[in-house]
Amino acid sequence: MDLAVEGLSHRYGDLDVLRNIELTIHEGEIVCVIGPSGCGKSTLLRLLGGLEEPSSGRIMQVGEQPVGSLNSLTYVFQDFALLPWRTVAGNVSLVLEHHGLGADEIEVRIADVLERTRLSDFRQAVPKQLSGGMKQRVALARALAVNPAVLLMDEPLSALDSQTSELLMHDLIDLWQREHFTSCYITHNLTEAVRLGHKVVVLSRRPGVIREIVEIDIELADRVMSNLRLGQIQKDLWQMVRDEAQTADMELTES
């Protein structure tokens, strides 16, 4: 299933946040969105999944949903959003319980996603016992459990320390290579963007408009640090983002 954004604009009262966004997220690709702080990235993601209504424009789901999908547009939140009183398995089960599935089907799905995210040994742990990276893997497992068509991720690694986030980045790349999931991935981090994104969307400072969409046609597996072309792309992206970021920064301190 593709996700198509058509002429999307959004405002909060007088605040123009997004303007005329046109974008298609094709099945099986990861679209990374970068842009300066406060330009409306999180807002865009909330609009994509229907957590907020756009002021104008629309978002269309194109094509068939994957079989067995319980929730086609599924989020992975920056701060995990796990229920602290439920175990790892309980947190996954939470999003399956209201679909009228049988107890064994729920159990099968839980076991499957915990296996895929290498959490099987931790199914009875509670979030408090887990490190940040593990918590985010639980959140990822929960998202995968409903077999989503598109994974909507808002800076999923930014609450983690750099080593943990490196590990989780590997997990995401592995996962994509195995399952070719579709995703919109918001990030501040250009390295993340060039390592995961098939497309990188560069937003301008607020009101966010699309400055450029950079396609990266290098296999995810081949995107190593030493890849010269990748380094060049990252440099170009940085050029684009830097001026915007600088101006946005000044604006914030002035107001």
Binding site: L51, N71, L73, Y75, F77, D79, A81, W85, H98, V146
Partner: protein, 274 residues
């Protein structure tokens, strides 16, 4: 540096160790200290009474209060007083708490309810409910009704406020998460909002329970044949200070038991917090 056991210092430079200064300001659980203080106080009190330092008129000795308690138990009136009080307490508290929980949840979850009811709650909450007792006697009769109503209203308002305050403070991202997985409203309320508000609700319960005991005694002092409050009042009227202390001791123990029950509930239900 390879030499780890002994350091070569700069000649003649003053050498001093770093002094530890990070101690104190940390509560460490010290068991039995509370019990020892309590026992010492009782002993001092008993000693003071025996030696005549404390006049029996001013304050009877703990042993005398204990005698009065044993007399009460032997006369068979102890059960009657305790039973009457417990009955009122349990009825008034559980009804008030349940109703408060329902109304508090309604205010927390529905903006019409909030707009309509929360000013009303704010207006009635600060009234000492005991001031309304004469009114309750007219409405519900001099018997059990007015006493239970007093306790009911005393527990109702703090519970309402604790419940909707707790619901207000539920992490919005958790609710968002529930919505993003298409959870029905009913599930979001029961599986996310209520468990998240539970700590606040339980601390509200602690407050309501102590208010309930205060109101119980006050209501029993105004008109009751049996009940710990009535017993204390009668003792006061007769200047029987030993009985008075015995009654007050019973109230203290009742308070401790209630506190312990709620503490246990908290430990059971909120063990995910630590």
């Amino acid at each position: 540096m390879t030499n780890t056991t002994s350091q070569a210092y700069k000649p003649l430079a003053p050498v001093r160790p770093v002094r530890f200064r990070g101690g104190g300001f940390r509560t460490v659980p010290r068991r039995f200290i509370g019990l020892i203080v309590f026992a010492m106080l009782i002993l001092l009190w008993e000693g003071g009474s025996r030696t005549g330092l404390i006049s029996a008129l001013v304050l009877p000795a703990p042993s005398q209060a204990l005698d009065a308690f044993i007399d009460l138990a032997l006369s068979g009136n102890l059960q009657k007083h305790v039973f009457a009080s417990l009955q009122r307490l349990i009825f008034g508290f559980s009804l008030g708490f349940t109703a408060g929980l329902i109304v508090g949840a309604a205010i927390g979850l529905n903006s019409y309810m909030r707009a309509g009811l929360s000013p009303l709650v704010a207006a009635i909450f600060p009234i000492p409910k005991i001031a309304l007792l004469p009114l309750f006697i007219i409405w519900f009769g001099i018997g059990e009704g007015s006493k239970i109503a007093t306790i009911f209203f005393g527990c109702f308002f703090p519970t309402v406020i604790a419940t909707y305050g707790g619901i207000d403070n539920v992490d919005r991202t958790l609710i968002r998460m529930g919505q993003s997985f298409n959870m029905p409203h009913r599930d979001i309320i029961w599986k996310i909002i209520m468990p998240a508000a539970l700590p606040a609700i339980l601390s509200g319960m602690r407050i309501s329970a102590s208010i309930a005991i205060i109101l119980l005694v006050a209501a029993e002092m105004i008109g009751a044949e049996f009940g710990i409050g009535a017993y204390v009042l009668l003792a006061g009227n007769l200047m029987a200070t030993d009985q008075l202390i015995a009654g007050v001791g019973m109230l203290s123990i009742l308070g401790l038991i209630v506190n312990w029950l709620i503490g246990t509930a908290e430990k059971r239900l909120l063990d995910w917090r630590n």
